[in-house]
């Protein structure tokens, strides 16, 4: 039935188009417009360009204000404010270029629409102009490259020694996060040691692994550099922490890393957002203002399969003291899985004594 309806609809549409086509042809013959170089449509098309310019840029201008409510809040990491600045600086430059070129592009069609009486200006080239618009973009690009390069070099420089190292492993379809425990060093891992229980493949023959703990949420200390040691267990994933302007692929067989410094605790961010009207709106699910339940999030940005869109993990930034408190309260994974460890031949009490 639906198919029949669809087919009859298509037939109807084609019939209407055929009719319009026929009418247009007859009208143009009746008008005798075939004798003229251009028909009256030329004028209409010429006018539509400046009209579209006004309407289009008006819409962009108005909507940009509305949309900015839904942009991410100000960066919560030290480097984030630099890349944000670069982003908006570049946007301003290209915004001007976009506006200026479109002003000309949509004005010329109106201004220089065909007139039988006029003839176009024969102007094959002008070397001065060519040089100007080669050099000016080149200079602007050089400026942008240099500023981008300096920021990029800073971001990708080796992590400071005092960084808190955290291991993040992507798998289908969630993230697992391991902290180095009391010794401050992450133990080895090996993909051949992965099984249903030891999902990260931690190598417990390495004594440094014994005190490592796996956390449900990611906790980060404010104001301290954090080094993410990133890996993937099955396919490519990508660590994306939008509020911190952090992104790095997780690659099976090739550890990657990214370091950054969180500068706002979750509580501070909630406090800041409480002043934002967009965040004061009541969330229908919780019945509370949105800012109260704000959380930093970790997402996956490299397509990894059916659950790609659901690889969420909550990130909580604490004051350093709170972070340390939380950190010290965590039980090591080994201590929680003694049976598993003895099943692979490691006696935890012996290991402790080593």
């Amino acid at each position: 039935m639906a198919a029949l309806l669809l087919i009859s609809g298509v037939v109807f549409l084609v019939a209407i188009l055929a009719l319009i086509y026929r009418i247009f042809t007859l009208v143009s013959i009746a008008k005798g417009s075939t004798k003229q170089r251009v028909s009256s449509s030329n004028k209409i098309n010429a006018i539509l360009f400046p009209v579209l310019f006004v309407v289009g840029f008006g819409a962009i201008f108005i909507y940009s204000g509305i949309a900015s409510e839904n942009f991410l809040p100000a960066a919560a990491s030290a480097h984030g404010s630099e890349t944000d600045f670069l982003f908006w600086l570049t946007m301003a430059i290209i915004g001007v270029a976009f506006f200026a070129t479109h002003l000309l592009l949509f004005w010329f069609p109106f201004k220089y629409q065909f007139k039988e009486s006029r003839s176009a200006y024969f102007q094959p080239h002008n070397d001065t102009l060519e040089i100007i618009w080669t050099v000016v973009p080149a200079v602007v690009m050089t400026g942008l490259v240099l500023s981008g390069w300096m920021v990029w070099t800073d971001i990708t420089s080796p992590a400071p020694k005092e960084s808190v190292a955290i291991e993040i492993m992507g798998k289908q379809f969630n993230w697992e996060v391991r902290y180095s425990g009391k010794d401050g060093e992450l133990g080895k891992h090996n993909f051949r040691k992965i099984d249903g229980t030891n999902s990260m493949g931690i190598d417990f023959r390495d004594p440094k692994s014994i005190d490592d703990f796996i956390a449900r949420d990611i906790h980060l200390p404010k104001g301290q550099p954090v080094l993410l040691k990133i890996r993937a267990r099955d396919v490519l994933h990508s660590v994306f922490m939008p509020h911190f302007r952090v992104k790095m692929d997780a690659v099976p067989g090739m550890p990657t890393q990214f370091w950054f410094t969180p500068i706002k605790t979750t509580a501070e961010m909630r406090e800041e957002l409480s002043k934002d009207p967009a965040w004061q709106k009541i969330d229908p699910d919780t019945g509370e203002p949105r800012y109260k339940n704000f959380n930093y999030e970790l997402a996956c940005t490299e397509v990894c399969g059916s659950g790609h869109f659901a690889m969420r993990k909550v990130i909580i930034v604490d004051e350093p003291a709170d972070f340390n408190k939380w950190y010290n309260e965590q039980d090591s994974w080994a201590s929680k899985n003694k049976d598993y460890l003895s099943s692979i031949g490691i006696n935890l009490d012996l290991a402790d004594n080593q």
Binding site: V38, T90, F98, Y112, A120, P124, D249, P252
Partner: protein, 627 residues
């Protein structure tokens, strides 16, 4: 439209006695199916491309439904999608990814590579350089039929029970290498790789032909410095394709080895489906390097022909020479060269050495310079022109607009520091759909409207063309411009839904706006389809030179036969852009008009050339008498 044409005389005369050309009658198969004629092959590419464009468009409509209405009951799609819609009316998440993947593959390769280059390089190269046909008609035929075969295989993959390839059009391993990772990586991926292998063969056969033809078969007097910009663009495109597609073939080949023969080129230390795989030592990054070594030039393979086509159309319909002909060629060569050394800007956050990122950021931003030069040259060509708005002209102006709006955001994304945040978000989707997808599509449409009279000997309806243009132009902006906002808000691409994340839970209204705009834009393409197919049979008969254009194809009969010119191939004396030349009676002087016939509009140097022409002719006359 009047056809007062300086050269009609000669063409019409020649038409009278072209009896030496009606050799044996060709059968239907020889003429329309396994044809060796470049014009028929071009039409085959075009019509196949149009059909693929509708399939690709339909796929995008399917996933736009999901994105706009994530909570809706999609049972109504069950007749089309079958089990991909479950009992609760929800779209299968892997099918969503498959639709995205196939949309990308089809649009990039089948529509904008084969449909664009295949159509216009084939059609225009011999006609605009004054050649009887391609250098090798047989290879040309093979090129189409390999493409056809690739299409059949890809089409079959849409209907298999495990679904088509679904790891994104970039098919990054290990996802694409492991059937355990997603069902589309099984048979669907095998078919994808097979199809692409044939497609690459097709592209190479075509490319070798285009290059050879342009180099060897130009008519007398047509030096490279007098070539229309279309031919320059097709030539450079073919060179780029010839250098980059083999790399994709090698990437695909190694992937086939990894998938089927247990090698470890891309695989290392993987635990999946409850077991650790034996593969060690491979690198997924190797695939990315190889893929983007084609993938980035591919952007220009798609875009350059469109830019060439618009250069020609804008100049013709502005009744003005293209501004900075040599600068246009120079910037195309520059873009072509640079396109090979910017690929790793797709990989800033792939884990590649950050120093490499710095180098590629630098090279990437250089490519903005020739692109800017092209834009300014287009604008200056319009300045003080006498603009005739044919549908082709509208689409060309549309292309310039899309090229700017999509191009400028490339400056943002090419900056590695900024790309950290924007990589793989909707900002990227907006960027490349505008600059590569829509701009190239507009170039293709411009080309169809402009050369339809030469292809089919009839005119397309202009009014329907105008309606089609304005719907499409406003439509693509309504679809892709808002994606910038969503991208700035951090929304990742290839997400089935955004409801899981607080950060991405906004913009639900805008998603609906985008989807509705996409449906309307897609629907508007049926206006084109109707106009196209209807006009093939019922369109007004085309005059010989409907756009009063300078290039050689308009010196052929209304429907050029095998061999294109019934008589002698015209000789070329001048560049193709003598529009509105001061002193000339008409506002165009075609390429085959000697300077000796146009003393009223010649410069001093051209008068000298005219004298030389006269002398040569006399010499020629003497030598032929002495025979």
């Amino acid at each position: 439209m009047s056809t007062v044409d300086i050269d009609i005389q000669s063409a019409a005369d020649a038409h009278g006695h072209d009896d030496h050309h009606d050799h044996h009658e060709q059968g239907f198969f020889e003429k329309y199916v396994f044809s060796l004629d470049h014009k028929v092959i071009a039409k085959q590419f075009l019509i196949t491309g149009i059909l693929w464009a509708f399939i690709g468009g339909l796929l995008s409509a399917i996933f736009r439904v999901q994105l706009a209405f994530p909570d809706a009951d999609l049972t109504f799609m069950k007749p089309l999608l079958g089990d991909w819609i479950d009992a609760q009316g929800k779209m299968d998440t892997e099918f969503y990814l498959a639709a995205v993947t196939m949309h990308g593959t089809i649009m990039v390769f089948f529509v904008l590579t084969a449909g664009l280059s295949g159509t216009f390089s084939n059609f225009l190269i011999p006609l605009q350089i004054g050649a009887r046909d391609m250098a090798s008609g047989f290879m040309n035929m093979l090129s189409y039929w390999f493409f056809f075969l690739a299409g059949v295989i890809m089409l079959i993959s849409l209907f298999i029970s495990t679904g088509p390839a679904s790891g994104g059009w970039v098919i990054y391993p290990p996802l694409s290498a492991l059937p355990q990772a997603m069902s589309g990586s099984g048979l669907g991926m095998t078919l994808w790789l097979t199809s692409m292998a044939f497609f690459i063969v097709s592209t190479l056969l075509g490319g070798i032909n285009y290059i050879t033809t342009v180099i060897n078969l130009r008519t007398e007097g047509l030096s490279f410095s007098k070539l229309p910009l279309t031919i320059w663009a097709f030539f450079l495109t073919a060179v780029i394709g010839l250098l980059s597609f083999p790399v994709l073939l090698s990437a695909a080949l190694l992937l086939i080895f990894d998938r089927s023969f247990g090698t470890s080129f891309y695989l290392s230390q993987i635990y999946i489906g409850g077991e650790a795989l034996p593969n060690v030592g491979g690198s997924p990054l190797l695939f990315q390097h190889l893929f983007w070594f084609l993938g980035h030039p591919e952007v220009y393979i798609v875009l350059l022909p469109a830019l060439g086509i618009t250069s020609e159309i804008i100049s013709t319909n502005a009744r003005k020479p293209i501004f900075g002909y040599r600068a246009m060629i120079g910037s195309m060569i520059g873009i072509g060269f640079l396109s090979f050394i910017v690929w790793a800007h797709h990989m800033f956050v792939s884990g590649m050495n950050p120093f490499l990122g710095s180098v590629f950021m630098f090279l990437t931003l250089i490519i903005a310079v020739p692109s800017a030069v092209k834009t300014f040259n287009y604008l200056t060509t319009l300045w003080r022109g006498n603009l005739v708005f044919t549908p082709a002209m509208l689409f060309s102006i549309g292309l310039v607009s899309l090229f700017i709006s999509g191009g400028v955001t490339g400056i943002v994304l090419g900056n590695s520091a900024i790309d950290i945040q924007l990589h793989d978000t909707y900002f990227v989707v907006a960027h490349f759909h505008l600059v590569m997808g829509s701009a190239s599509f507009f170039g293709m449409m411009a080309g169809v409207y402009h050369w339809f009279p030469k292809m089919f000997g009839r005119m397309m309806n202009e009014k329907l063309g105008y309606v089609h243009f304005w719907f499409t132009f406003i439509g693509v902006y309504m679809v892709f411009f808002p994606m910038h906002y969503i991208g700035i808000a951090g929304f990742p691409r290839r997400y089935y839904s955004f409801t899981n994340f607080d950060a991405f839970s906004t913009f639900t209204d805008l998603q609906i706006v985008i989807s509705v705009a996409a449906f309307i834009t897609l629907a508007a393409q049926f206006i084109f389809a109707f106009n196209f197919f209807f006009s093939i049979f019922k369109g007004k008969l085309a005059p010989l030179n409907p756009w009063r254009s300078n290039t050689l194809e308009w010196t052929t009969p209304r429907l050029p036969g095998h061999g294109n010119w019934p008589g002698k191939i015209p000789t070329v004396y001048r560049w193709p852009y003598d529009y509105s030349k001061p002193g000339s009676k008409e506002d165009f002087i075609p390429q085959h008009i000697p300077f000796s016939q146009t003393p009223e509009s010649n410069t001093d140097m051209e008068n000298e050339l005219g004298k030389l022409e006269e002398e040569e002719k006399k010499d020629l006359g003497k030598s032929s008498e002495s025979h």
